[in-house]
């Protein structure tokens, strides 16, 4: 599988691992020696590659060198029970009927979780290690430790996470919500969740993974998600990145779709100081279909870098991509959308759109498509727009009596809401719409004058 690969740094330069080396003790092997081996290979790859640097093309606009200078401690372990029961409330998705699995500082917290017995098929990774399916179908199959320094680091050190295993022919009505909370600490903290999802043939599931923080200390979330959908499966996966403005967030989602599997992915980025998301989808059988959507709402000095890869490996696969960015303050956004059409992937039909509204003069956006096409009978289109809110639309609304502030908020919401409208799961869609209205308001993005 072609990755959004970081080329190893030139050999003359020592890899930048910095204080993160101190974090390089392998996580638990849960009694399975092969896991210990994979963790060791994670350590070796991290020592060899270090953190990505801005001399690497795909990390040019996101500088993570600072991470090597922060002394991270592993997020507090084993203390989840001491944390108040209501800590999950601001982020809970129980109103949508979701089964909610809560992870506090990287560790599963049954006390804070709410799920029905029928939500079988979700297990904390500590238990998943015993399930051969975990290893055989997903884990370290899609996210290889050698992909980049962050996958290496996660493989070496992830403490916990979830394995979601949906058997064939099962339609799961209730979404599964994985809520990762980093709590306040007097020192910088690191959490490295690992999520593995296997969806059996013809099954349907909606999974939401949320990342939040309650403290104001610098912290790093280095998350890896691996998702394999068997043939004919329908999977909706929604990422809600709502971390504190002091957070570094690196999230990498590796997805593989077998023939006729359908994916609907949404990545909503609101929080974080420096955020990097890699989403890569391999269309790994004919008639697989992928939709990648994204919404970024940021302000202040936030930086969000979204990189996606649609890897068309088989014929007759459609893919659709729509990323929207609303940037205020001095925020900076990056979008790199790569469409790879491998030899033989004829009749690929891929459409990519990136749209940005700049709500202040100091916000910046860098949006670039990247097409690599090795088949001749394909249709690939891409388009990108960046600009302020539309003057004519504003004038139209105001000329009907709607005041300027309301007109702006209507237009900013409409811009983002358009993406949410595509969500499959009804109650989840309602939740997301309310969330976006509230966040636009909280971030003052509905009021910024342009």
């Amino acid at each position: 599988m072609t990755q959004l690969t970081s080329q190893p740094a030139p050999s003359t330069v020592a890899p930048s691992t910095g204080l993160l080396t101190e974090m390089l003790s392998a996580g638990p092997d849960h009694g399975t020696p092969w896991l210990g081996e994979i963790r060791q290979s994670g350590i070796r790859h991290f020592q060899r590659m270090g953190l990505p640097t801005t001399s690497q093309e795909d990390w040019r606009l996101t500088n993570v060198a600072e991470l090597a200078k922060i002394r991270f401690s592993p997020a507090a372990s084993g203390k989840a029970a001491a944390i108040g029961a209501d800590i999950t409330r601001p982020w809970s998705l129980r109103s949508t009927g979701a089964n909610e699995f809560v992870f506090i500082n990287g560790l599963f917290s049954p006390e804070h979780s709410t799920f029905s017995a029928s939500a079988a098929g979700v297990a904390p990774l500590a238990q998943a290690a015993a399930n051969p399916l975990w290893r055989e179908s997903v884990f370290a199959h899609l996210a290889l430790p050698q992909t980049n320094g962050f996958t290496a680091l996660n493989t070496a050190g992830f403490a916990d996470g979830a394995f979601i295993s949906v058997p064939a022919d099962l339609i799961a009505e209730a979404p599964i919500h994985l809520l990762f909370i980093s709590t306040e600490a007097p020192h910088a903290t690191l959490a490295q969740p690992r999520v593995c999802i296997h969806v059996g043939a013809r099954s349907q599931i909606t999974v939401v993974h949320t990342y939040v923080s309650t403290g104001g200390q610098p912290h790093l979330t280095n998350a890896v998600v691996e998702l394999a959908a068997e043939s004919g499966a329908k999977v909706e996966i929604v990422k809600l990145q709502r971390e504190a403005q002091t957070a570094w967030h690196i999230g990498q989602d590796f997805i593989k779709l077998a023939s006729q599997a359908t994916l609907q992915a949404l990545s909503l980025n609101i929080g974080g100081a420096v955020v990097r998301n890699n989403v890569q989808v391999r269309l790994d059988g004919p008639y697989a279909e992928a939709t990648l959507n994204g919404i970024t709402l940021i302000t202040g000095r936030q930086h969000v870098d979204n990189q996606t890869l649609l890897d068309h490996a088989f014929e007759n696969c459609p893919s659709h991509e729509l990323y929207k960015h609303l940037l205020g303050g001095q925020a900076s956004g990056v979008f790199r959308g790569k469409i790879l059409v491998r030899p033989g992937a004829q009749k690929t039909d891929s459409k990519q759109t990136s749209k940005t509204v700049l709500l202040s003069d100091d916000a910046t956006m860098d949006s670039q498509p990247q097409l690599e096409i090795y088949a001749d009978d394909v249709k690939c289109t891409h388009g990108s727009t960046t600009g302020p809110l539309d003057d004519e639309q504003l004038f139209y609304l105001r000329s009907r009596g709607v005041d300027a502030a309301t007109a702006r908020s209507l237009l900013t919401y409409a811009f983002a809401g358009d993406v949410l409208g595509r969500t499959w799961h009804g109650p989840l869609k309602g939740y997301l719409e309310e969330l976006v209205v509230a966040e636009l308001h909280r971030l003052h993005l509905d009021r910024t004058t342009s």
Partner: protein, 250 residues
């Protein structure tokens, strides 16, 4: 006191003067047509009256019921009872027509010191006006003007005018893009809104619309100035002789 009084209005865009001293008085109950060739400044006049900031007003006054509106924002003017039907209504994806109109109706009602309409009363109001313009229900849930045909957009403008109930309606080329059936429906809508308390300024460069919306007065705009005024016969004369006739007459 006239409902609308424009006194020696000058406006420019990018340093270029487009309106070069326009004076006009419109009384309540009257319909005035503004005719003129393409590029004469008709849409500029309509936009300046509605408060579009693209145009710089460099001189003159505009009084609505005796109050100068030139310092008012577009939304204040709307609340004061001014409505402009756009020549080219913009599409606003993601904003539903119903939601937007309810916000507009209630902003204006609030300004007038009236109680805001609840969902039920709003729907009732909307439905009567939709009937008037023979519009389909489904249109309420669609985004404002998105994917509308030229004719649907124009009809939507007049529908909004009917809902917002302004004192002064300014119609910019409402007939363009309408086939004859749609023109009849739209004109019927406009005519039903005529009344002793309302005035209208109908901008067009064809006489056709004025067969259906018969004006009390006709003014000819050319190069940013009103060069001739008369009654409805002036429109027919223009139709027969063309705008060139005025050059030789002048």
């Amino acid at each position: 006191m006239p409902m609308l009084e424009i006194k020696d209005l000058h406006a420019s865009v990018g340093g270029r003067e487009i309106l070069k001293g326009i004076s006009l008085a419109v009384n309540a109950g009257e319909v005035h047509a503004i005719m003129g060739p393409n590029g004469s400044g008709k849409s500029t006049l309509a936009s300046v009256l509605a408060g579009r900031e693209t145009y710089a007003v460099t001189g003159g006054q505009v009084l609505l019921n005796g109050v100068d509106i030139l310092d008012m924002s577009p939304e204040e003017r709307a609340c004061e009872g001014l409505f402009m039907a756009f020549q080219y209504p913009v599409e606003i994806p993601g904003v539903s027509t119903a939601y937007f109109l309810k916000a507009a109706v209630n902003a204006i009602r609030k300004h007038r010191g009236e109680e805001e309409l609840d969902a039920m009363d709003f729907l009732k109001l909307i439905k009567t006006k939709m009937k008037l313009l023979e519009m389909d229900q489904s249109f309420l849930n669609r985004s404002v003007n998105e994917g509308f045909s030229g004719g649907e957009k124009k009809r939507n403008e007049i529908f909004q005018m009917a809902v917002l109930d302004p004192k002064l309606g300014i119609l910019d080329e409402t007939d363009s893009g309408l086939d004859i059936d749609a023109l009849k429906i739209v004109s019927k809508g406009v005519n039903s809104l005529r009344g002793p308390d309302r005035a209208m300024l109908v901008v067009t460069h064809y006489q056709r619309l004025l067969e259906y919306i018969v004006p009390d007065f006709v003014h000819v705009l050319r190069d940013g100035k009103i060069i001739k005024s008369g009654d409805k016969k002036l429109a027919l004369e223009l139709e027969a002789k063309g705008y060139g006739w005025l050059d030789t007459a002048a």
